[in-house]
Structures are given as structure tokens and as C-alpha cells.
């Protein structure tokens, strides 16, 4: 049967996915470009990305989106043709274009039927900013052999090599007839000819890959070194429809040193500004762009600064990973099958144990197979977990923009450092992480860092510094956000929170996650309302199964550490028994386990509580919570102290069995009307185990406390 609407929707979803990815890359590319405004590879990349967005949008008949992308494409085309070095204002214009694309796409993803958008202001801005348009592409002298040429470090090394071999350097520019419909094949012929007789250092656009719209190959610039006479060059470029060939000999010394000296912000200065700390005013970016988005020209340039011994030029290494798109449902199916495999493997292991006394030879054999199966299953599980992993740079991408935009509007100066962008993390985590991460960084910028003047008065460097780093350690991911600002004002926090002045520093610092707490006397747009930090803490704890740690040193700065499990659907739990049934409790919501003593249990009003530390906390028996028959009396039972949203509840169970990592599946709503469970899993012996939801249990405990008119029952 035909469903006319369905294909369209599917296409649209595919388009949205693609376009989101392209725009994310574009954003990163622009940030990089702002740092190195004259890097032809980046300009080429930006051109290519906007071009792809345009083509895809037109295919989806999203004309406004296509228009904006087209406009940006034109801008990069102009920049690429001329020797224009992008100004900050021009970059701002380009960024607003990129933002508009993202917004339009967001609206479409949200279900908007069309992409109606007022693009006039943006277009007017871009017109104004790029009015002079550098050397015009339609003017008489389309080719300017004297235009400065910027080299990457790798290209410089190649130039040095060539000079040492005594080769002559040429810049060669040629133009394919404007009316020629297939420009790339013509240009490629020239490329091919040149490659036979010269050492091609660079062609721009890159003819070797031949990506992008055909019409970008209208004009090609090549930098080459050769022993051959110029007449051979002339011969090589003699290709039908190729006209306006200009070449000029270059002096390697000038090329290596002078090119940069002529113009400010040349590659030398850009390279000098490149180490770890990059100013946020002109633009923050990671010390090393991640593999996936690295502009191609950068690929072979690792540490190429300075003198490289002759004859030691590495080939341009392309470490590109290859990817295919796989429907997530298929991965989930595979995941389930692996789960099955693991359960059956456990069964087999049991069986092996049982036959050990029967037939020694057979036993040895089966044991060998069981061992092999064990390794295979573990390997599959490991690989499968890997398929869910994406580099954390996907979540970091927005940070650079955030710091760039926000430091400006707050009137602060900040350097941003990013580390460990390649750290891999579950893609589900990345989706949720973005917002809390953004909030923590806003917080560092707004609350943590002092203004430039204040910092100078304190004898600190005028520019503040924010370091965001990620690393994987012992099956967890650690994300640290640290600033070198003023640190937390613990005295003020104690005062505002109304806690004793002698509360220790660590616990005081944790109070910033309490709802409604702010030490700020005035509220800014960005932070200071006292909402947010509690939400950050809650989302990371409840949605991601992680936690946030705070460390602060007065006058020296604050460090927030987000600790996350590696994969979302694997949870470390404590298995407990209620009667003869097992239940699992997430270890992250357990404060500790205790054995209750009769004198600690307070009865009253048909309700029981537990004396715990300096307070009284609600006491619930698991069987009572689940509506099962009454178990043993509360005295001298095992109690699990649960912690959710700063409140503790004691849950009585019959037995503490063991700690175990479980692969969690969602619980059907039909089984979870009271939201008692946060997931379900299967144990090694095939038994089904439900994971208890600590937040719901906490709420039930609290509600009971209120019913009996005792608000102080919330033990802390």
C-alpha cells in the first residue's frame, strides 16, 4: 500500500540529520577560521559546507534556507578568490548567517512546515560587510599573480625541501573558459599533466579530491616546484578550454618569510597564537582540532614548526576514519541479541560446573568452549558499547561560541582551553549533557571570573582562564570545568543558606546545588537567579546517573567535575532481596547501607522513622512500598540509605546480595503506574530484576513525613 506522506517525512528527517551535522561542522570551521582568517583550506571547507547545505535545502524545496546558505557560499567564494583577510565584523556577519541557518533548521525539525524567515537584515548586513568584495571575479584582471600566498607548515616544509633540491618554485594560475559546463575535468587534465613533471605542493581548490560544485574549478591556483623548464609548464597547461594561464617564479626565501610579514595576522602570527591558550576575544578553539573536522590541509602538519631535517618530509597523512550510517533500531536489536548471548553463556558456565565430575575429557572440552565463548561475548559487548560512542567534541563544539559571545556581553576577558575532545562518550549522554555543561560554563564566566580591572588589582593576569577538559578513567568519564576566578564565597553561602558557620567547606560548596540559592545580590541575564545549578545537579544525577563535584579555593578559582558512567544503559547496582525476589538499586543513589538497631527506629502515628546521623529520616520497608505482605519487623533489618535531591530515605530490605552491573531496559508504562521502577534487567540466572527509582521512593517518604506534620523529617 502506498502512503504518500511517509517518504517525504523520512526524507525530511534524513535532511535534518545531515544538515545539523553540516552546520555543526560549519560552526567549528568558522571558529577555526576566525583564528586563522587566511587559511585557504578553511575557507575552502566553509565554502564546501555551505554549498552542501544549500544543495540539500534546495532538494527539500526549503527555499529560504537554501537562500541563506547560498548567500554564505557566495561570501566564501569571494573570500577565496580574493586575498581578503576576514575582519572581526565580517566574521560576526558570517556567524549570524550560520546562526540563522541553525535556527531555521531547528524550526523545521520542530515541525514547522516551511522555513519562512525574514532574511533581509542578514542579507543587508552581508552586502554591507562584503561590498568591496576584494578583487572582483568579473573584473579585467581576474588573476593577480602578486596576491600574497599563505602556506601551511607542511607546505612550508615542502617548499624548503624543494629549494634544497634546487628546484624552482612557481605559482601558476589558470582559468577554465567560463562557458565550459564541465570545469573540473578540464582542470583535472591540467593537474594530471603538472603532476607528471612537477612536485605539486598545493592546488586551490584541491584538484586531487575534486569535491564540491563543478563551478569552483573555474579558477585554479597551483603552487609547484620543478626542475623542468618553463616551456614544459606551458605544454602541460595546454588543455582545451583552459585559458588565461599566468605563472610566476617565486623566491623560496620570500615565500617562507616575507609572505607573512606583509600582512598582519599572517600564518606566522596565527601559528604563534596557536598554543594551548587562545584568547577569547579573537577566538577560542581547541589546541588540536579533532580528526573528523580537521581541515584537510592540517592533516600532516603536526608539530611542523621550526627546522625539519632535510629529506624527512612526511607524506601528508590522512587518518580519516570511514563511517556508514546505521539505523539505531538495528543496533538496538544487535544489542539485545548480545544480551541474550551473555545470559546463555552464564547458563553454560553453570552447566559446565555440573558436569565436572562426570567425564573428565568431555568436561575439559566443554570448558574450553565455554571459555572461548566468554571471550567472544565480552569482545562483542565491548564493540557494541563502542558503537554508541561519539567523541565528546560534539558537546564541546558550542562551548567556544558560548565563551566568545558571552565574555563579550559580560565585559570580561577570558581565555578558553579545551582538552580531551576525543574522549568518547555515549551519544545519549552527549544529548543531555550539552545543557548542564553550558550552564556550568556560564556560571564560571559570570560568577567565577572577576572583571579585568579587578583581576589587575588583585595581581592576577588581566585575562581570566577557563579550562574544560574531558578524560576517561576507570570506566567513568570525567569532565572538568575550572576557572582561575575568585572561588566560592563560602561565608556568604553559609549565611544565605542559613547553615551553621562551622559547616565544613566541602559540604558548604555542595550547597550551591540547592534550589533557590544564589550569592549574587543582583541578577544578570545569564546567571544569578539561583535556578539552574540545582537543575544541573539533578539532570546529571537522575538522567545521566552521574554526579557533580565542586572544589574551590578562595581567590584561586573553582573546579566543577562532572563524573559520568561510560554508557547510559549499563548501570552499577546493588541487588537486594525482598522475600525471595531480587530488586536492584542504582549504586549512585545509595548513600550507605546500615543494619538497623531497635533503639534507632522511632514509631509514631502509624509511621516509622529512623534516627540517622543527627536527624530523623523516613523509613520504608520495600515490601510495604511494593504492596506485598508484611515482612519482618523493622528492627535489626538491612537498611539502604537512599539519597535523592539532597533528601535521604531508609529502605528496609531482607537481604543485601551483591553489587552488579546491569544492562538496563526501559519499563513499560503498563507496569509502572506508580513510577517505582527506573528500569528492568535480566540477571545471569535468567531472573528478571526491576531497578528501583530512588527519586520516587524519596518522594513517597517525604509525602509520608508531611502527612504526619513533621517537616523536619528530611534528614540531611
Amino acid at each position: 500500500m502506498a502512503y504518500p506522506g511517509i517518504d517525504e517525512n523520512r526524507l525530511r528527517r534524513l535532511f535534518i540529520d545531515e544538515a545539523e551535522e553540516l552546520l555543526e561542522k560549519l560552526n567549528r570551521c568558522l571558529l577555526e577560521l576566525e583564528k586563522k582568517p587566511d587559511d585557504p583550506a578553511l575557507i575552502q571547507e566553509a565554502f564546501r559546507l555551505t554549498h552542501s547545505v544549500k544543495s540539500e535545502a534546495s532538494a527539500m524545496r526549503l527555499s529560504h534556507l537554501a537562500d541563506v546558505a547560498h548567500r554564505l557560499e557566495d561570501v566564501f567564494d569571494k573570500v577565496r578568490e580574493g586575498s581578503v583577510v576576514l575582519t572581526r565584523a565580517q566574521m560576526d556577519g558570517i556567524f549570524s548567517g550560520c546562526d540563522m541557518l541553525i535556527e531555521m533548521l531547528g524550526r523545521i525539525a520542530g515541525g514547522a512546515a516551511n522555513d519562512d524567515f525574514d532574511t533581509r537584515a542578514l542579507f543587508a548586513d552581508l552586502d554591507r560587510l562584503f561590498a568591496p568584495a576584494g578583487p572582483s571575479s568579473t573584473g579585467e584582471s581576474r588573476i593577480d599573480p602578486q596576491a600574497p600566498l599563505w602556506l601551511t607548515e607542511f607546505e612550508k616544509a615542502q617548499v624548503r625541501e624543494a629549494a634544497e633540491r634546487g628546484e624552482k618554485l612557481y605559482r601558476l594560475v589558470f582559468q577554465v573558459n567560463e562557458d565550459e559546463p564541465m570545469k573540473y575535468p578540464r582542470a583535472y587534465l591540467v593537474f594530471n599533466n603538472l603532476e607528471q613533471i612537477t612536485n605539486l605542493i598545493r592546488t586551490s581548490p584541491d584538484l586531487a579530491t575534486g569535491e564540491g560544485d563543478d563551478r569552483i574549478y573555474g579558477k585554479v591556483t597551483a603552487l609547484l616546484a620543478t626542475h623542468r623548464p618553463e616551456s614544459d609548464l606551458a605544454q602541460a597547461v595546454r588543455v582545451d578550454q583552459v585559458e588565461e594561464v599566468v605563472w610566476s617564479a617565486l623566491d623560496p626565501a620570500t615565500l617562507l618569510s616575507g609572505a607573512a610579514a606583509g600582512v598582519e595576522n599572517g600564518p606566522e602570527t596565527a601559528a604563534a597564537a596557536r598554543p594551548a591558550s587562545v584568547p577569547a576575544g579573537p577566538l577560542p578553539q581547541a589546541p588540536a582540532p579533532s580528526q573528523a573536522t580537521a581541515p584537510p590541509a592540517d592533516a600532516g602538519h603536526a608539530g611542523a614548526e621550526g627546522e625539519r631535517p632535510a629529506g624527512d618530509v612526511p607524506a601528508p597523512v590522512r587518518l580519516e576514519k570511514t563511517f556508514i550510517k546505521v539505523e539505531t533500531r538495528k543496533l538496538n536489536d544487535l544489542w539485545q541479541l548480545i544480551g541474550e548471548l551473555i545470559i546463555n553463556k552464564t547458563r553454560l558456565n553453570r552447566l559446565v560446573g555440573q558436569i565436572s565430575g562426570l567425564d573428565e575429557a568431555c568436561y575439559k572440552n566443554v570448558e574450553g568452549i565455554a571459555d572461548a565463548l566468554e571471550r567472544i561475548a565480552a569482545g562483542m559487548q565491548h564493540t557494541m558499547v563502542g558503537t554508541r560512542m561519539v567523541p565528546i567534541s560534539t558537546a564541546f563544539g558550542k562551548i567556544s561560541r558560548l565563551v566568545r559571545d558571552l565574555s563579550g556581553s559580560l565585559g570580561k576577558e577570558a581565555d578558553l582551553e579545551l582538552h580531551g575532545e576525543d574522549t568518547e562518550i555515549d551519544r545519549g549522554v552527549v544529548e543531555v549533557l550539552s545543557e548542564p555543561l553550558t550552564h556550568l560554563i556560564k556560571n564560571s564566566l559570570d560568577h567565577g571570573l572577576e572583571t579585568g580591572e579587578e583581576r589587575q588589582r588583585l595581581g592576577k593576569p588581566r585575562r581570566g582562564r577557563i579550562i574544560v577538559s574531558a578524560r576517561q578513567e576507570a570506566g567513568r568519564v570525567f569532565i572538568e570545568i575550572s576557572d582561575d576566578g575568585r572561588g566560592l564565597d563560602l561565608v556568604k553561602i553559609r549565611q544565605k543558606a542559613g547553615v551553621p558557620a562551622d559547616l565544613n567547606d566541602e559540604e558548604t560548596a555542595r550547597l550551591i546545588f540547592r534550589h533557590g540559592l544564589t550569592t549574587r545580590d543582583s541578577v544578570t541575564v545569564h546567571a544569578g537567579r539561583g535556578v539552574g545549578m540545582d537543575v544541573v545537579d539533578r539532570r546529571i544525577r537522575e538522567e545521566l546517573g552521574g554526579k557533580v563535584l565542586v572544589r574551590s579555593e578562595a581567590g584561586r578559582g573553582t573546579t566543577m567535575t562532572i563524573v559520568l558512567p561510560l554508557a547510559l544503559n549499563i548501570l552499577n547496582t546493588l541487588i537486594v532481596a525482598c522475600g525471595d525476589r531480587p530488586y536492584a538499586i542504582p549504586v549512585q543513589s545509595i548513600d550507605e547501607t546500615v543494619k538497623t538497631a531497635p533503639q534507632d527506629v522511632v514509631a509514631g502515628n502509624g509511621d516509622r522513622r529512623l534516627l540517622y546521623r543527627q536527624g530523623v529520616i523516613p523509613l520504608l520497608a520495600l515490601e510495604e512500598l511494593l504492596g506485598l505482605p508484611q515482612g519482618s519487623p523493622p528492627e535489626e533489618r538491612y537498611g539502604v540509605i537512599l539519597q535523592a535531591r539532597e533528601e535521604r530515605t531508609c529502605l528496609l530490605v531482607d537481604q543485601l546480595i551483591e553489587e552488579q552491573e546491569l544492562v538496563i531496559k526501559p519499563v513499560d508504562a503498563l507496569l509502572n503506574e506508580r513510577r517505582l521502577f527506573s528500569g528492568v534487567s535480566v540477571l545471569g540466572d535468567g531472573r528478571i530484576v526491576f531497578v528501583l527509582d530512588a527519586a520516587t521512593i524519596g518522594e513517597i517518604g517525604r509525602a509520608r513525613g508531611r502527612r504526619h506534620g513533621d517537616p523536619s523529617s528530611a534528614g540531611r
Binding site: D668, L670, L671, E673, V682, R687, F690
Partner: protein, 147 residues
């Protein structure tokens, strides 16, 4: 409504589940009870890596429980991309209902909760109540069928 249906009997009625929603029919096996669920939720079973909720159909239809017999089966159905088990006394057969053999108006006349019924189908050997599985699963509202 025309198409093939898996038929089972409960009380006096004969009921049909659209065949394209039936994933598998399994023997009744150990069902793990789940506390704090409606009476008609029999529990969960573990099948091929999935934990599947099982509904007791007699209970769901407001009929008295019966001792589970040898012919008792769990019909695994797919609804909204999730799997559910329907515990029935016996799976009778698979019938084909033609377009002309269905009646949308009849359920009310027979005293059925029509929300949960697609219609009444005329099979070669009698009437079949064609069930709307999605709505039966989506609600815990009471369903009445004649005993």
C-alpha cells in the same frame, strides 16, 4: 478490517487478534509477578532478550479467573513498536475475514465495550469479535464482555 485473525476463546466469546500484530505464540512459561500493577497484569516474561509485560485476558475482560490449563498460551503481539503478551486459555485457530463479513455496528448491540473492538467478523463457523489491541493496551479502563 478484512484480513487474517488469530482466534482465542474467553468465556462465551471468541476473539480475534489481527495476525499482522502477532509476533509469536508461546507456551505458558514462568511469569514473574510485578508488584503494584493492575490486577490484569499477570507479570513479565523474558523472551529473546526482551522483558515483556503479560496481560491476563480473562481478567482484562472482567471474567472470572480459571485454573491455567495445558492449552494455555501467551500470544506475543506488537503494538506501537513494543511487545506485549496476552495470556489466553487456548489459541483456537486462524480465520480469514472478508470485507463483506465485518460489521462495525454490532458490538454495541452485543453489549461489548466498543472502544476496544474493531468490529464483528463473520467467519465460516461463527462470529469473531475483532479486537483493537492498541487501545486495549493503552488504557486500563474496564472492558466488559458478556460472560
Amino acid at each position: 478490517m478484512a484480513g487474517k485473525y488469530v482466534c482465542f476463546v474467553a468465556g462465551k466469546g471468541r476473539y480475534g487478534i489481527p495476525l499482522d500484530q502477532v509476533v509469536r505464540i508461546v507456551r505458558r512459561e514462568e511469569i514473574t509477578a510485578v508488584p503494584s500493577t493492575p490486577r490484569f497484569v499477570e507479570g513479565v516474561i523474558h523472551l529473546r532478550g526482551e522483558v515483556i509485560p503479560v496481560l491476563h485476558v480473562r481478567e482484562r475482560f472482567g471474567l472470572p479467573r480459571q485454573e491455567a490449563g495445558r492449552k494455555s498460551r501467551i500470544v506475543i503481539v506488537s503494538s506501537q513498536e513494543r511487545l506485549y503478551g496476552l495470556l489466553v486459555d487456548e489459541v483456537r485457530d486462524i480465520v480469514e475475514i472478508g470485507e463483506e463479513g465485518t460489521d462495525r455496528e454490532a458490538p454495541a448491540a452485543l453489549g461489548l465495550s466498543e472502544d476496544f473492538v474493531l468490529g464483528i467478523g463473520q467467519a465460516a463457523d461463527g462470529l469473531v469479535v475483532l479486537l483493537d489491541i492498541r487501545r486495549i493496551l493503552a488504557s486500563s479502563r474496564e472492558i466488559r464482555v458478556p460472560d
